[in-house]
Assembly symmetry: C2
Homo-oligomer: 620 residues x 2
């Protein structure tokens, strides 16, 4: 895997921290101003499916699945076990030649036109920063929920943005907001387009002209301050570019969401994102020191970024999770971490999920969490095995040996065993000490070390797996992920009940085959854990397949809430989960949000209507 | 110091963490419901000065200062060096017999009476939960700024609460808020009364009846959940009781503000507090998982407390730093930490402040921060020496030896050297490793280890020093503390400039003697540091002494802002620092707060007017 790019895999620093610069009374902050991010010609994104254009799962002439291209660990390798395994799990004879065909792009709704607003936009922006193309408009009207991806291939989005604008500086954003206010238009901010909560969908009843404000041109790292460990980054900067550029200067933000290849800093803030290494670096709200936001009545901004303050209610806190309702984030000052001296992967096998979860709990209680520790349940462990390439040589040999040891010598049951992947980062001696402690605790729960390469593979698989959903959709399978967080004592119950509920709901509908429902425990806290589910089933011969899927997903969500789980750990609410807000918030809490929205944006300029119903329309 | 109570000094756990309780699918969360906190008959608080009634600095017959009582390390010991040192620093012949006499209590303003509101309160609360006593009303109309403490002894507070209510349950708080709304009264929440920002002062122009809502009866730990490491605690619980009670079950909140003996959980949240061990445990916003708040239109509350969520804009974030403007916090769910296996103190001497600050910066950059690390400048180091008791035996001998070594053998200049105190907490082996690293880095900056007992003394001195301000006020000396946070590269400049500015301002006013201005670096961050100043000078023969003091403090604050410092790191804004809000926030940010306040509390029930001017009055 040497020649593959690992987006989330930062360079490891030669030294633990940058050379210590001596402080003195005469300091002037030395800020580095990097150039523009390197862009790669081959980094073209697909419009009809997830990810890069060059990477797609396909069935080759031999009837074997392979991921095209050379971008990921999986890329270019035949995956002979995958199709047979899917058939087995879904209990259906999936025929690779039986494709659900689609036309793309399909026709899109006619735009609502507000000539005065368009004229104002043309005054503010050069021509190349405004697009009214149907295909562009459509791409800005959805994220990556399965309903959306199904709709753009087999149906239609009923309302999409009428125009897309690409501001290149903050002042343009301010002017666009003023124009929207003056000419009664609606604005929906757009980052990487990776939302999985329908946050980018346009409200169906919106009659005003809608402009999608695409932040991709505001993608610069404005400065890096190595002494004070901060960087100012524009909101449209994409995760993979942030990682690459900061690494050039020996730093990292430490924020690695699954979507890091495509999602943006502004999107992370607006959705209150969480990264896979949050155990070491924190979640987005821990990483952002300051944020500049253009609102309907001016710009929230500061002259200095301070380590920590107590200066009254901080409006910027309301921007985390605001999902586009309150304004447009244009830049943020974020904390920096030196690249770790070492980065080491690891993995541990446990005999069952309960033992693995107890191991995770023990790690958290003893404050011994590595940068990342994730526990796959048995089905997801099997999925990982099914994604193993037809490779030969040492790796395969070692893998066979391990398998033998696991299955025969220690009584690991292939239908019960689970795998935990570990990523350690830090000073060499600290990592060494931490590894020893972690594996010792693992052994207390009957865990068997399964090596660094399995750990690395498991960790990096996240990026490749993201392409599976659109692949299987071609073969009449709908798949989706959803997540929650829950206190430790409820975690096992929640995992069990959600799976059971999905089985029941699936069975009651007489759907073909069996459903695929699996989970992993990802981000870990002293008080609980994030649980991440995958759900899939065949819709061959099913009427209104996405509606049926949605019903089952809603049932799963109900079960999550019944078990004391969160409505969302890091995906957000958007419109997909909005109906559940009264289940998780008191009336006063919902009122608070409505009242503040109405006070701050009385004309509902930021009218995406995510996670709350403003009632602005009713009052206007 | 064995028989002294260390409020902030938790029991150390016999084992690093509570026995790991195995998770299973059949778990029901096992919550412990503790009894009421133990109260101690001798814990009577003074009304005219800081702290407990039994603890006061006094000059004895021999003309030597001693702290009465037996509560603190310093208690009962003669401090022969203190007065001579104060004389030297202030360059004035302070005569201990020259006392500024005062009458206490003084007459207070007549109450504004709203009979309908009082009748409503009497319907809601039993008689003993309502007080209209002058003395009680006055105590609820101020915190502990020097202007306030001077006013209650030598002047008058111009507006104080008209009634004090003591709700004992959340429902009573809700009913009080409804009554205030119905009968147009004003409510100001009251916790420990330790505010140093005039947050508890009543707006002078408030014509409505003002009720101070004293939360002391809502002081229970409602439950402790050891598996999920959470506790639900009522907002009126006082720090020292929280520490004692949680320790009974092997836990700690890890939050140790200087005011921990008196301040409350609700107050910590409302002021966005920070504790001395935040390096290990976090600040209040990191420690609170959930908060219940009675607002003007209902109660913000949740059924479950979750480790982390992404469920839209979270109104509860606005409660941190809300300073009483938006509602009354009635309880919170907080994270728990197991009591540390070991707790070790340490100290290091450096040749000057700059070396010490570079040491602190290096620790932060290498993520090697102990639970607490604080650096006193030379004057504060001297202050610590001047507070040394006339003691004999080993401690004194060792102290002399160290002094000799420091001054003669290594060229430490007593007028330049500084001291750093350290507190390590955690697993024995981790603490050992951390100590080795920290002292190694200390040595790189020429630091000399000065032992654990000096470190412990320095750390615990905080609690005793708090009594000095009211003692010196008897002797015509005004003293106050103020704090900021600042990025590392500006920190030394800020310390120097603020001291210089105070010197200049003092000189320009022809005040007696010289001012005492000193600082320490306390809470430490990757990106910067909290700086805590003490300012004092004699007002013998000065007209309007508190006004003069205030002018100099304002100048110091201006200098802090000029150097890129925060308006406050953890004290808050209140009314004392309100004038500076436009210097640190954009118009839109201030507007946001005004608009939300107006939307959420249109009648300005929560009318304490801290950190913002609502404009509600103008509009009413």
């Amino acid at each position: 895997m040497t020649n593959r790019r690992h987006f989330a895999d930062k360079k490891v620093a030669a030294h633990c921290s940058a050379q210590h610069q001596t402080l003195s009374e005469n300091d002037t902050p030395a800020r580095i101003v990097p150039g523009r991010a390197r862009t790669h010609d081959e980094d073209v994104e697909s419009l009809d499916v997830w990810g890069f254009n060059d990477s797609k799962f396909e069935v080759n002439d031999k009837g074997v699945v392979a991921l095209a291209g050379s971008r990921y660990d999986l890329s270019g390798e035949e995956l002979p076990a995958l199709l047979p395994w899917i058939r087995q799990v879904l209990s259906l004879p999936i025929d690779p030649k039986d494709i659900h065909p689609y036309d793309f792009p399909r026709t899109v709704p006619e735009p609502v036109l507000n000539d005065a607003f368009i004229a104002a936009l043309k005054d503010i922006l050069p021509e190349e920063q405004i697009s009214q193309k149907a295909e562009t408009r459509q791409r800005h009207g959805h994220g990556h929920t399965l309903e959306e991806m199904y709709a753009i291939k087999y149906g239609q989005l009923s309302r999409i943005p009428d125009v897309v604008v690409y501001p290149s500086e903050e002042n343009q954003v301010s002017e666009i907001v003023k124009a929207a206010k003056k000419y009664n238009a609606c604005l929906i901010p757009f980052g990487g387009g990776t939302s999985v909560t329908e946050a980018l969908q346009c409200p169906k009843t919106e009659r005003r002209m809608i402009a999608s404000v695409d932040m991709r041109r505001m993608n610069r790292i404005e400065w890096i301050d190595p002494v004070n460990r901060m960087a100012c980054i524009q909101a449209g900067a994409v995760g993979r570019h942030i990682v690459e550029q900061l690494a050039d200067y020996g730093f990292s933000m430490g924020h690695e969401p699954d979507s890091i290849e495509f999602s943006t800093l502004g999107g992370w803030i607006a959705t209150n994102a969480s990264g896979m290494k949050k155990n070491k670096y924190g979640n987005i709200e821990d990483l952002v020191l300051d944020v500049t936001v253009v609102t309907a009545f001016g710009t929230l901004e500061r002259d200095v970024a301070l380590p920590r303050e107590s200066v009254g209610t901080d409006p910027r806190q309301a921007v985390f999770g605001s999902e586009g309702n309150l304004g447009i984030v244009t830049s943020a000052i974020v904390k920096l971490f030196p690249l770790p001296e070492v980065q080491r992967y690891g993995s541990i096998l446990f005999k069952n999920f309960e033992l693995g979860m107890n191991f995770m709990h023990a790690l958290s209680q003893q404050h011994l969490l590595p940068a990342s520790v994730r526990l796959m349940d048995n089905l997801q462990f099997q999925f990982g095995q099914a994604l193993k390439p037809r490779s030969v040589g040492w790796r395969s040999y070692k893998s066979k040996l391990e398998k033998y040891y696991a299955l025969n010598l220690r009584g690991f049951d292939p239908d019960k065993m689970v795998a935990c992947t570990l990523v350690f980062e830090g000073r060499a001696e600290d990592v060494k000490a931490q590894e020893a402690m972690v594996y010792k605790i693992g052994a207390q729960y009957g865990g068997m070390k399964a090596g660094g390469s399995n750990g690395e593979r498991g960790y990096q698989l996240t990026f490749g797996i993201a392409y599976v959903r659109d692949f299987v959709m071609n073969h009449y399978i709908l798949a989706e992920s959803f997540e929650t967080s829950v206190s430790w004592s409820q975690a096992l119950l929640l995992c069990q009940n959600v799976k059971q509920r999905v089985m029941t709901e699936h069975a009651e509908r007489n759907l073909p085959g069996r459903p695929f429902i699996t989970c992993r425990a990802t981000q870990v806290y002293d008080t609980g854990v994030c649980i991440y589910f995958y759900l899939a089933f065949s819709y061959k011969g099913v009427d209104n397949p996405t509606q049926v899927f949605n019903e089952i997903e809603v049932a799963a969500r109900e079960e999550i809430l019944n078990c004391g789980g969160a409505l969302s750990h890091h995906h957000g609410v958007g419109k997909l989960r909005k109906r559940f807000m009264p289940n998780v918030m008191s009336d006063a809490t919902l009122d608070w949000n409505r009242k503040t929205k109405h006070a701050l944006d009385p004309n509902n300029i930021f009218g995406c209507e995510n996670h709350l119903t403003t009632g602005v329309e009713a009052e206007n």
